[in-house]
């Protein structure tokens, strides 16, 4: 949303109140829903997992896969996207293929990746890279093609070289949309890492989540869910923070969505 200055007091109160209500109803035993733990016991589960150090290797595994996949996807997506955005010929002759491949449901590629790479980190990485790069690529193409023609005319008037034009005019103007792609790509690579751990590679937070579900240890299951959710929110916030340091991004109305 917007900056930290505009904290929504009542909204946060309602959220806290809901948690308190949940705790009061379930924690005191007034209401029992089978397998539903109270928030306090979820918090205790997180604390004990952290105190025993059990959660950190899993966290490191999932986070590492997500970040590495995102970095690889960013290199592929940004460079190809820049190419396709700058060259109308290439755009006309490949973009429909890309849209076709991109619209395929991500989960369907889990078995393909498993077939090619087996139960390994490579399988997680390949899947996350494949899915995340489309988002980054398509948003880069949109950003570059969306640069106002007047700006390009300025570049022509100043007799800029191709390289100069790309670095000084196109990239800064396309930056907000490219950043949206990078943010979506980061979220998606985390999700795909978790998904492939849930259904294939027995490692990381996703596997622990499913393991605790099968063991019916629901307080730990909710603990892992909370950690995964918090990880997603933190990664997103970190990227927003970094993006804000890039000069001029905010002024051009970027970072939306």
């Amino acid at each position: 949303m917007t900056s930290i200055r505009r904290i929504n007091g009542p909204g946060l109160m309602v959220a806290a109140l809901l948690l308190v209500l949940w705790q009061a109803l379930i924690g005191s035993g007034l209401a029992t829903i089978e397998y539903l733990p109270a928030p306090a016991s979820i918090a205790r589960a997180i604390w004990s997992l952290a105190a025993q150090g059990q959660i950190f290797p899993e966290l490191a595994h999932t986070l590492g896969v997500a970040l590495l996949a995102w970095a690889i996807a960013a290199v592929i997506g940004l460079s190809l996207g820049l190419l396709l955005g700058c060259s109308p010929f290439a755009w006309r002759h490949t973009m429909a293929s890309i849209e076709l491949l991109r619209s395929m449901p991500s989960v369907a590629f889990v078995p393909v990746s498993l077939l090619l790479f087996g139960f390994s980190v490579k399988m997680e990485l390949a899947l996350a890279v494949y899915i995340a790069q489309w988002l980054i690529l398509v948003n880069t193409v949109d950003g570059v093609r969306g640069v106002t023609p007047q700006l390009l005319e300025v570049a022509r008037m100043l007799r800029m070289s191709r390289l100069e034009r790309t670095v000084k005019i196109v990239l800064p103007a396309a930056m907000p949309v490219m950043l949206v792609g990078l943010r979506l790509g980061l979220t998606v690579s985390l999700v795909m890492a978790v998904v492939s751990e849930m259904i294939c590679n027995p490692a990381g937070l996703g596997y622990q989540l499913v393991f605790e579900q099968r063991a019916l240890q629901t307080d730990r299951m909710f603990a892992y869910l909370a950690v995964i959710g918090a990880l997603g929110i933190l990664l997103n916030a970190a990227l927003l923070l970094v993006a804000r340091l890039i000069p001029g991004v905010e002024r051009r109305g970027g970072l939306a969505a």
């Binding site: 006309r92 973009m95 076709l100 991500s106 989960v107 369907a108 193409v141 579900q213 939306a256």
Partner: protein
């Protein structure tokens, strides 16, 4: 092709991006992909474990169809998808409208809603498994849960931006609550609802396949899981194509329904 591809303006941000990028790429761009498939067909073999050629995908699919598993699974997946999308649209639009129309409710509920939306839907599947078991009702609930947020939040935004003159004119015409909803609110909110549905549709497809993949009892997802367990690579590739067709099909369905609804009930449709 226009109907097949999702509209782009919803995904990208930035004021200047909407104009140029709304252009749909020409169909000839599919040629590289088709060439790639042809090359695969020429170079690949039928018995390759990793890269079976496209013709063997079709053979595997026709075998599945003759075994009588392909069509029931497709039907199951499609009904799960359709039911979840309908429920998500109804619930999302209704709740989104109620929240968006009342500023106190909006302020009070927005953080909770945003938090729920931010939880990765895929990771919520185990929770639903624990509480609801492995049935189709669980699948429909999970998919609805995952796809309701974009619809809800988009409708909320639309309801907040609803022109006050519209509501005033409804009052001055002494429209009853039902007439006000059907004649004023729904047509005015239609574009925002469909903006949400367009975002939600691919999410619903992914979540449906994921749930089926995990449960392994029903749907195309379970067929993919079974084929992968047996290392039936050709069947895996064939079913991935089927899943891709679902993705494209659902997107174009949404586009069709949207253009129909907007033509007949949307703002400026000439119904006065």
């Amino acid at each position: 092709m226009r109907a097949v591809l999702p509209r782009r303006a919803s995904r990208t941000a930035g004021p200047q991006s909407a104009r140029k990028t709304s252009k749909v790429p020409p169909l000839r761009g599919v040629v590289p992909f088709l060439l790639f498939l042809c090359l695969w067909q020429l170079v690949g073999t039928d018995d390759s474990v990793f890269y079976p050629r496209p013709s063997s995908w079709l053979q595997a699919l026709s075998l599945l169809s003759r075994q009588g598993v392909l069509w029931p699974a497709t039907w199951s997946t499609l009904t799960t998808l359709a039911l979840s999308m309908v429920v998500a649209t109804l619930v999302g639009a209704a709740v989104g409208y109620l929240v968006g129309r009342s500023p106190p409710a909006d302020r009070a509920l927005l953080p909770t809603l945003e938090f729920l939306r931010a939880t990765p839907a895929a990771a919520v599947v185990p929770v639903f498994l624990v509480f609801m078991g492995f049935g189709r009702d669980m699948a429909i609930t999970v998919v609805t849960f995952a796809s309701v947020w974009p619809i809800l939040l988009n409708t909320r935004a639309g309801a907040r931006a609803l022109n006050p003159v519209l509501m005033d004119s409804a009052r001055s015409l002494h429209l009853g609550p039902w007439a006000r909803i059907t004649k004023i609110v729904i047509p005015a909110l239609m574009p925002s609802i469909f903006l949400g549905v367009r975002v939600a549709a691919p999410v619903a497809v992914v979540m449906t396949l994921l749930v089926e993949f995990i449960v392994q009892f029903y749907g195309v997802g379970s067929l993919i899981a079974a084929a992968q367990r047996d290392y039936a690579s050709a069947a895996v590739y064939g079913l991935v194509v089927v899943a891709g067709i679902f993705g494209l099909g659902v997107n174009s369905m949404v586009a069709l329904v949207e253009s129909f609804c907007l033509r007949h009930h949307g703002p400026g449709s000439g119904r006065r």
